[in-house]
């Protein structure tokens, strides 16, 4: 979950170009977190020690963890703990930045520190993000933004992400917005909430991103993004929205849903009311859009086309 926060920071500070960042995300999507990355993350090893062990590995045919223990940088217990968390940790971004040759580990460590200072993210919040606490991350992302019904959106986006992780891709995370988010999308699935709290939700992507996700949700291989695949994406959105309505109902807010529908070649331009949430998965990036009401640009298209 760090990738969205840090990614935005890296792009804003022009520490990486969008093109470099795309390559880093691709690499991160297919990589596994290395023990050295985890050791820095856990505070067991300094960046310089990790680099020293990497150097040693060039001349000695030993695994990183074994060398680090031999050098006294890690205890056996620490290594076991790191091996255990290796498959879960979400620090692929840092690792991928280093592997792309953009930064050294030392530089990455400094960037991480600067980022936390500039954004006033305390230790507790940072740990929550590292643990994959989606709600903590979403709060930080939308902090200070003039977003209506902010708390409402935070809960919705958190629930949405948890279900992406549950049903579509266990390694999914929020990624930075790019210019693509403001253009038209080939496929957009929309569902509206009505009642006391009207609310607009949509997911949008290209076919090659939606197709593998639709296959996963349906539990069967699909070859084309046909009506059945579209139904799978629509049902995923419907499922999340249904759960959200149930949660709201438990808190005394009754909401109704309208059936989901899919539109082709729709975008939301620069509409300020819309919250854009790009989600990185191993199939590629898709975007969740949420807004207090149906965007005017979409209404015009719907009125004109139907």
């Amino acid at each position: 979950m760090l990738s969205r926060l840090l990614g935005e920071y890296l792009l804003e500070e022009r520490l990486v170009t969008p093109e470099q960042f795309r390559r880093v995300l691709d690499r991160a999507a297919s990589a596994k977190v290395k023990i050295g990355t985890l050791a820095i993350n856990a505070g067991y090893m300094a960046a310089a020690q990790v680099e020293e062990v990497h150097e040693l590995q060039k001349t000695r045919d030993l695994r990183f963890g074994d060398l680090a223990v031999e050098k006294g940088y890690l205890t056996d217990a620490q290594l076991q703990e790191l091996l255990h968390t290796q498959s879960k940790e979400d620090l692929l971004l840092g690792q991928s930045l280093v592997e792309e040759g953009l930064f050294s580990w030392g530089r990455f460590e400094a960037i991480l520190r600067d980022y936390r200072e500039k954004n006033a993210i305390d230790e507790k919040q940072f740990e929550a993000i590292r643990r994959g606490d989606v709600e903590a991350l979403v709060w930080i992302l939308f902090r200070g933004r003039n977003v209506l019904k902010q708390q409402f959106f935070v809960k919705y986006i958190s629930l949405f992400l948890r279900n992406v992780i549950r049903f579509l891709d266990a390694g999914a995370s929020l990624v930075p917005e790019t210019a693509d988010t403001y253009g038209d999308f080939p496929h957009v699935t929309i569902q509206l909430f009505k009642g006391k709290v009207p609310f607009f939700s949509a997911v949008a992507a290209k076919e090659d991103v939606f197709l593998p996700l639709a296959s996963r949700f349906a539990g069967e291989k699909m070859e084309r993004f046909d009506a059945f695949a579209q139904a799978s994406i629509a049902e995923f959105l419907n499922l999340v929205n249904g759960l959200f309505a149930v949660n709201c109902s438990h808190e005394g807010v009754e909401m109704d849903l309208l059936p989901p529908f899919t539109e082709q070649n729709v975008g939301f331009g620069g509409d300020l009311e819309i919250v854009r949430v790009p989600v990185g998965t191993n199939a590629g990036v898709f975007t969740l859009f949420v807004a207090p009401e149906t965007p005017r640009s979409l209404l015009r298209k719907l009125e004109g086309g139907h």
Binding site: F217, A218, G219, A227, F228, A231, S232, A234, E235, N238, L239, N241, G242, L243, A245, V246, C248, S249, H250, E254, M255, D256, L257, L258, P259
Partner: protein, 129 residues
């Protein structure tokens, strides 16, 4: 010994994905005749024509929502067994479903075990024919 007639089940959901999944879940349990509808209005017509032993009914659907369809089916047949299967199990919907005489409520995504349990209850009641 008499051979029991096959169960007839009507599956009503606007999502073709959900209809297919539910169909597969049901056919894995027993041989049965499955009818499909993609909105509440079609479901009411199919019910009137075929009098199925069991109905699985979504709530949020175009044309006619599932709870209105449930009410109309119960008017046609007060003993109709209609299971509401929806992702929107809000207290409001649960209350409406109970008031309208729903047989059960399944929160989506429906598990094989939950569907099997409902079908078993119908089979045990044994008055389908």
């Amino acid at each position: 010994m008499d051979v029991k007639e096959k169960l007839t089940v009507l599956v009503c959901d606007d999502s073709m994905l959900v209809r297919k999944k539910l169909r597969n879940q049901l056919l894995a349990l027993a041989e049965m005749v499955i009818l499909e509808a993609e909105d509440g209005a079609t479901a009411v017509e199919l019910y009137r024509e075929h009098k199925p032993d069991l109905v699985f009914m979504d709530i949020v659907m175009p044309v006619k929502d599932g709870i209105v369809a449930l009410e109309e089916i119960r008017e046609i047949d007060p003993s109709a067994r209609v299971v509401m299967a929806s992702s929107v199990g809000t207290s409001q919907n649960l209350k409406r479903a109970i008031d309208a005489g729903a047989f059960d409520f399944v929160q989506k995504p429906s598990t094989d075990a939950r569907i099997a349990n409902i079908v078993r209850r119908i089979l045990e009641e044994g008055d389908h024919a």
